[in-house]
């Protein structure tokens, strides 16, 4: 299929503002009379606030007001509160102070007296599961979204049986299975039973989550830092305690989120609530250090996986148990995603999954790029290599034989998937990377440098459905694509807008993407997260454009005679197929839509659209021809995206440092909308993968619950020098059948593929040593080389 715009590069409308500094992020806005607010945060990992005395602070000149926990909208536990009387981690906000400047606000905070009653705390899920062990929350120690808050303890016998090096297999909170797992293991040629740890790591969004809020004419205006736009509105309105239509939300640019700013988060509401209380605009700047407390992190895992392979390398049975370190409140369900990833990527003949999400007195967790899928790739891919070695199979071959296909089903209820071309990505990547040639160099040593090569794979769901599209043709002939998706930096807000332009055959120069501000009248869209935009927004923009197209043809038939089907469009006019001279320009059609009124110009709207879309379309009614529709296109199952990465490294066995010599990442993301945009996702995800594999983890002091790394230099996101000088990417470019033009997302899998490929290459350079742990740091490599014990205990978490 040849397209006019799809598959072609273009200059996204927001990129020039990014290189000139004109792009305005939340902290770049100023409002007359604006004051500043600072947060008083908990010094303890778990405590009850017995008394707050703000009298001295309020006497200070320049202090405008204090916002206390009892004054903010209550959030039902175990969701994260806005302000709290029972802090659950060091750094959790207790109250806020507003003053004419930040120094004064901070001085006032020093004058506030708080009595704390320290409560038991834990930073290790296994400690909490131990009989009599501390609970992170006074209302329980286990829970997650979709799992009731409860207290769960394993038995002393569970721990004794497992010993120090194996994960105890106590009572799970969730469990599912398919196939005959025991029979699978019995048939297997090799069976591995491995315990593992994947560390939590911070998101490190370069823009801290600052926010500015003020009230005007009964509406609350918030400039926030979120990767989503419309999706934020209901949640933020709820935090503020207003109706969604009373909120004006502006987030045209977002300086990185990676999952941590996907939807409304509690701290955003603080300046809004403070502004209401003191009747002044309030700017709340969040510092880098605070971002490590408030900014959330990826869930950590302590897990155990048993894998049985046949002689040909086929995965016959898998049995996985994950204990999730879920932070102090309901964050994200990485542990479930990890199970789906094992299921989809390796397609086992039989599988059982058990999991327990445990609360700890550590910062909140949210989704981080490939939440669950990418951690588990780091564990499973090196184990696949171990099986390949033991079975004397090529490492590419063991991946090919287990690749997912259209018959692959997911979970206990055996859900269908709509497309899977990971196998194609492996084949294409292996050819371009010259896998056979490079693997021959594996283990070669020059001085202290040993060559290692590795392949990694990862997956993430790549789309949703059921959201609304909204387009408008104005009497100047322009096509406006209204998109509420957000701006995470992928440019897919505009890439997917081109789907609508493609349907209406418009020149891109004739299109305007309306986004980033509720006052632009945006439809109800899901947020920009979960690798979904290129699928979900393709569908919504498609149905809206199709609705516009239908209306254009109807208007032409009404004015020029004949039936709507007698007409077609060429990007500037609607014309009779048999007589192209019989035509109306888009400008004229837009004007006629206004004249005709009713459904043509948004005065009558479909019943099934969301109230937000209805309000937006109503606001736009009468300004042109309105195309608006809910995505009710057929759904064929889950739509997965995949990536396969190939790495060659030089590992210095004296220092434990590695250098990436060659790198390739190949995506399976359906039809490619925007090749350059896709390249940036494949490369950017890879860079984050290098960090996940070898650099990043949060450290929490077990004695006092204090975070140990609250600076970029301590928490170590990758720099230029951690990455290869040049990176290669490629893609499969095969359409997904449930996306109108075949597109699906890609954001997350490249990270897990790159991370696991790098770990496999390190293992390869070490002759097959598997660490069962992320990140793999130089000291671990040196200890492995010297055959010394590791400096951490096998299941220890939050360590240095």
């Amino acid at each position: 299929m040849t397209y006019k715009l799809i598959g072609k590069n273009f200059t996204p409308p927001d990129v020039v503002a990014k290189v000139t500094g004109e792009a305005k992020y939340a902290e770049d806005f100023r409002v007359e009379g604006m004051v500043f607010c600072r947060l008083l945060t908990s010094p303890m990992p778990h405590a009850r606030v017995k008394n707050i005395d703000t009298s001295e602070a309020l006497k200070m000149e320049g202090v405008v007001g204090v916002l206390l926990p009892e004054e903010v909208t209550p959030v039902p536990a175990p969701n994260a509160p806005i302000l709290t009387m029972e802090p659950l981690y060091v750094g959790q906000p207790i109250l806020a102070v507003a003053a004419v400047d930040e120094t004064t606000a901070q001085d006032a905070i020093e004058k506030i007296k708080i009595d704390y009653e320290p409560l038991p705390f834990t930073v290790d899920p296994l400690q909490s599961l131990f009989p009599g062990g501390p609970n992170a929350r006074s209302d329980g120690n286990v829970g997650a979204q979709g799992l009731e808050l409860q207290t769960l303890k394993w038995t002393a016998a569970d721990f004794a049986q497992a010993g120090d090096s194996k994960l105890p297999l106590g009572k799970p909170a969730e469990e599912w299975a398919f196939g005959d797992v025991d029979a699978g293991f019995a048939k297997s040629k090799v069976v591995y039973d491995e315990s593992f740890v994947t560390a939590s790591n911070s998101h490190h969004s370069l823009e801290p989550r600052s926010a500015l809020a003020y009230w005007q004419n009964g509406k609350c205006f918030v400039h926030g830092s979120t990767q989503s736009q419309s999706f934020v509105v209901p949640g933020l309105a709820q935090f503020i305690g207003i109706k969604p239509e009373e909120l004006v939300y502006i987030s045209e640019f977002c300086g990185g989120g990676f999952g941590s700013k996907g939807s409304a988060y509690p701290s955003m509401a603080i300046p809004a609530l403070m502004a209401k209380k003191i009747n002044k605009p309030v700017m709340m700047r969040i510092s880098r250090a605070e971002e490590y407390y408030l900014g959330s992190a990826r869930n950590g895992f302590q897990g155990r996986v048993k894998l049985g392979f046949g002689a040909d390398g086929r995965l016959l049975a898998a049995d996985m148990y994950i204990v999730q370190d879920g932070g102090c409140d309901n964050g994200f369900w990485d542990f479930r995603n990890a199970a789906d990833a094992l299921n989809i990527v390796y397609n086992p003949a039989a599988m059982r999954f058990r999991g327990v999400p445990v609360y700890t007195n550590t910062p909140s967790r949210t989704a981080q790029r490939g939440p669950g899928e990418n951690q588990i790739a780091c564990i499973l891919e090196p184990l696949l290599d171990k099986a390949a070695r033991d079975l004397k199979i090529d490492r590419l071959q063991i991946r090919r034989i287990n690749s997912p296909n259209l018959q692959t089903k997911v979970g206990e209820d055996r859900r269908a998937i709509t497309s899977a071309y990971l196998h194609d990505a492996l084949v294409k990547g292996a050819a371009r990377f010259k896998w056979d040639e490079r693997k021959a160099r594996s283990g070669q040593r020059k001085g202290s440098k040993v060559t290692g090569v590795g392949i990694g794979q990862a997956y993430h769901p790549a789309g949703f459905n059921g959201f609304d599209g909204l387009v408008r043709i104005t009497p100047d002939g322009k096509l406006h694509i209204h998109t509420g998706v957000g701006n995470l930096g992928t440019f897919s807000h505009s890439g997917t807008a081109r789907i609508a332009a493609e349907v209406l055959k418009c020149d891109w120069d004739n299109c305007i993407v309306e986004r980033g501000d509720t006052r632009k009248h945006l439809p109800w869209n899901i947020g920009q997260f979960g690798s979904n935009t290129s699928f979900t927004m393709a569908r919504t923009n498609y149905v809206a454009a199709m609705d516009a197209l239908t209306k254009m043809k109807e208007i032409a038939a009404r004015d020029l005679g004949g039936k709507p089907d007698d007409y077609d469009v060429d990007g500037t006019k609607v014309f009779a197929k048999g007589n192209p001279g019989k035509s109306l320009t888009y400008a004229a059609v837009a004007q006629r839509a206004i004249d005709l009124g009713g459904k043509y110009t948004g005065k009558e709207l479909p019943e099934d659209i969301n109230p937000m879309t209805r309000a937006s379309a109503t606001a736009l009614a009468g300004s042109g021809l309105i195309g608006v529709a809910k995505d009710t296109l057929p759904v064929g199952g889950e739509t997965p995206a995949f990536a396969a990465a190939f790495v060659e490294i030089e590992l210095d066995v004296e220092t434990g440092q590695h250098r990436i010599v060659e790198f390739l990442n190949v995506g399976d993301c359906g039809t490619v909308i925007h090749p350059m945009g896709l390249e940036t996702q494949l490369k950017g995800g890879s860079v984050q993968g290098f960090g996940l594999a070898c650099l990043e983890h949060i450290i929490i002091d077990p004695q006092n619950g204090l975070p140990g790394n609250v600076g970029l230099y301590q928490a170590k996101p990758p720099t230029y020098l951690d990455c290869p000088t040049q990176m290669q990417v490629d893609w499969v470019d095969k359409p997904d059948p449930t996306s109108p033009m075949g597109t699906k997302g890609i954001g997350e899998p490249p990270m897990g593929a790159a991370a696991s490929a790098l770990l496999c290459a390190i293992s390869d350079a070490l002759g097959g040593h598997v660490f069962n742990r992320t990140p793999v740091k130089p000291d671990m490599i040196i200890n492995a080389v010297a055959k010394r014990p590791m400096s951490h205990k096998p299941l220890q978490v939050n360590t240095q």
Binding site: P12, V15, V16, V19, T20, G21, A23, K24, Y25, D28, R30, E32, M34, V35, F36, G62, G91, A99, V100, D101, E102, T103, T104, Q106, I109, H204, L206, E207, P208, F253, C254, G255, G256, R285, S287, R288, A289, E290, N487, L488, G489, F491, M676, G677, E679, T680, K683, G684, V687, P707, G711, L712, P718, T719, Y720, L721, C723, T725, Q726, M727
Partner: protein, 219 residues
């Protein structure tokens, strides 16, 4: 101009006001108008940081009216002794293209040029640059508003993702090309290594710098 004012109510602001009175208020206002720049009355200084020792107000800390050379213009502005250049640029001169990612010289988002050398403006005191030439992301376009070759190359290579680190990446690249017009890719990588990009757009930024260098070499 994007100017920002806060009512001078704090102790520090009052101290500034006293000093302004010494100049004679009318004189002060006249000078400000004549310079074409408006000095803000804001005493907005980032006080404490959670987890970091904070600087409390120190006796005698008063704002002084200084002249700065920013993007080729003389800008008159009230500056506290402990005020960083990033804060002056962002909160008093309306130059918000300079971003604050860490305020600790770790990330490079606030990179500006001082006498053509790249600095983290979050860690430079404004008073220390009074006799020097400051260039920010807003000051590198050509005389007719055309993009700087580095900016143009970054657009063509689709180098930014979220864009928050981009002004800093641009400024570090401009500084590099000023001292080394024909860098190797590896030299670029080292020159920009103080500029973190969490989106991981390093490869595209390097492509951009190499493109800008090649363009300059061919003209």
């Amino acid at each position: 101009m994007n100017e920002f004012r806060v009512a001078p109510a704090s102790g520090l602001a009052r101290a500034r006001e006293d000093e302004a009175t010494r100049y004679s208020r009318r004189e002060f206002i006249k000078r400000v108008i004549a310079s074409g720049a408006v000095a803000s009355a804001a005493t907005y200084i980032y006080g404490g940081l959670q987890g970091c020792s904070r600087q409390g107000p120190v006796a005698g800390f008063v704002e002084r009216l200084v002249s700065l050379n920013v993007n080729g213009e003389t800008r008159r502005v009230d500056v506290l002794p402990n005020e960083t250049l990033a804060m002056t640029l962002r909160y008093k001169l309306g130059l918000t293209g300079t971003k604050l990612g860490c305020d600790r010289a770790e990330c490079g988002a606030c990179t500006v040029l001082i006498d053509d050398v790249a600095y983290n403006s979050c860690s430079v005191l404004t008073h220390s640059v009074r006799t020097r030439k400051v260039t920010t992301i807003e000051g590198i376009r050509g005389p007719n508003g055309e993009l700087h070759p580095v900016q143009q190359a970054f657009v063509e290579e689709l180098a930014p993702q979220c864009g928050f680190c981009t002004p800093g990446q641009v400024m570090s690249a401009v500084a590099l090309l000023k001292r080394n017009p024909k860098p190797t890719r590896d030299e670029c990588r080292h020159a920009l290594s103080g500029n973190l990009c969490r989106c991981g757009a390093y490869d595209n930024y390097l492509n951009g710098v190499m493109r800008a260098a090649a363009g300059a070499a061919s003209t």
